[in-house]
Assembly symmetry: C2
Homo-oligomer: 220 residues x 2
DNA sequence: ACTTATATTGACCGATCGGTCAGCACAATC
DNA sequence: GATTGTGCTGACCGATCGGTCAATATAAGT
């Protein structure tokens, strides 16, 4: 990527940063914070190592920036939910939204997973603060659904963790999944099949009757 | 150190090796293969770095040895299962066996997770060979259960992945779970509560009526 | 054209990486 | 007592780590 381009104009700052962030997300997600090296990121971005530090300041700043970006993406999921909402559609949307998120940002999801695996040294505040509130508020609503007889009296936290884990599995364990399935990557049909399966098992397992036959139709 | 009367083989060697393996499992599980350093392992084992290499040969040999040890532990799960088996008890046992496995070997489980996250560079053969066969054989049996009307006609592979992910979550994401729950670690009651929840949702979600022989698990 | 500000990067720093090796400690054998 | 074999480890190796900096190139402002 050295300047051999026919056009003499240099890429804008934003373009370069995006390029670096993409490369860094790949490397960090594969090897974790300690296992990743700036040289690997630089090579993947097609830039000299010093240039990475010029734009990002330090390895840690780059890493934290990627974590924040991923947290921002994640925060948009399941924003509006009330006790009056229909459990079937809400949980269904939740499952599918998380599946889409994992498919759209596989490297970011893996980056997050590696951070948690390492003991969440950079995310402990977020987990015990913002995310805990997120879970608590959603759990309270699910609890009300149970009290209203709309679903079984399951522990809402375990239910949330179940949906998280079941959906994340297909992005973070993609190497295992594709190794077992004998396929390089999941197809569109795979994703739809998995989503329908999770919808079926989790809703039915929680005693939720799917309101309409076309509940699987989700629009963004 | 230890004065042993019978000295056919050196018992100290085994002790030292176990010590090293324990330390290495912790470090590798936290930081992955690249992120782990022999110095960190040596410090945790209370030995000089050269001693680690004296016993284990190389970083890679040590890592592969840990992976193999974890694979052997894992292989014992769900060994005997036939089409005549009762789906309720089999799946229930599967869920609880995996929960126990994760609680018994948290570092080993995380080590495995980190390896998969990195793209399974050392495990691709195992995933596409031994483990794929494991899944295929169990999937065939589940398929027969569906054909016999013992349960819903769900895709067996997705079901196996669901149980894997849902149970593994509590060991590999323990930092996230405890951060959200505000607890340092899961209690015995937590484990039982989670196991009962997963049993309830997954069995019911697959249209399996819990057998009377498991009556002690139904109500809690 | 000249000045200023920003982009870019090769060269370098001390620290740490995985790994080698010579040599010491020590018990068993001769 | 001398020899041998094994356990053990400090010292060292070249490579790579994250990060700094001076020098240069390019763009922008006047």
């Amino acid at each position: 990527m050295t300047a051999v381009s026919v056009t003499h104009e240099s890429p804008s700052r934003e373009k370069v940063e995006t390029n670096i962030l993409m490369a860094a997300e790949e490397v960090f997600s594969q090897h974790g914070y300690r296992g990743a090296s700036l040289q690997m990121i630089a090579d993947r971005a097609g830039l000299p190592k010093a240039n990475i530090l010029y734009y990002m300041g330090s390895k840690q700043a780059l890493y934290v920036r990627l974590l924040n970006r991923m947290m921002h993406r994640w925060n948009k999921v399941l924003e509006d939910i009330t006790p009056e909402s229909d459990p079937a559609t809400v949980l269904s949307d939740f499952i599918r939204a998380k599946m889409v998120l994992g498919q759209r940002y596989p490297e970011g999801s893996k980056l997050f997973a590696a951070e948690i695996l390492a003991g969440a040294p950079f995310l402990s505040d977020y987990l015990a603060g913002e995310l805990r509130e997120w879970v608590a508020s959603r759990a309270a609503i699910i609890q009300q659904w149970s009290a209203q007889g709309k679903m079984d009296a399951v522990d809402p936290k375990w239910l949330i963790f179940l949906i998280w884990s079941a959906t994340q599995h297909y992005t973070e364990y993609s190497a295992q999944v594709s190794g077992i399935l004998g396929r390089d990557a999941l197809t569109e049909e795979d994703i739809e099949s998995i989503s329908a399966f999770l919808e079926h098992v989790i809703l039915k397992g929680c005693g939720i009757t799917q309101a309409s036959t076309n509940a699987h139709l989700v629009e963004k």
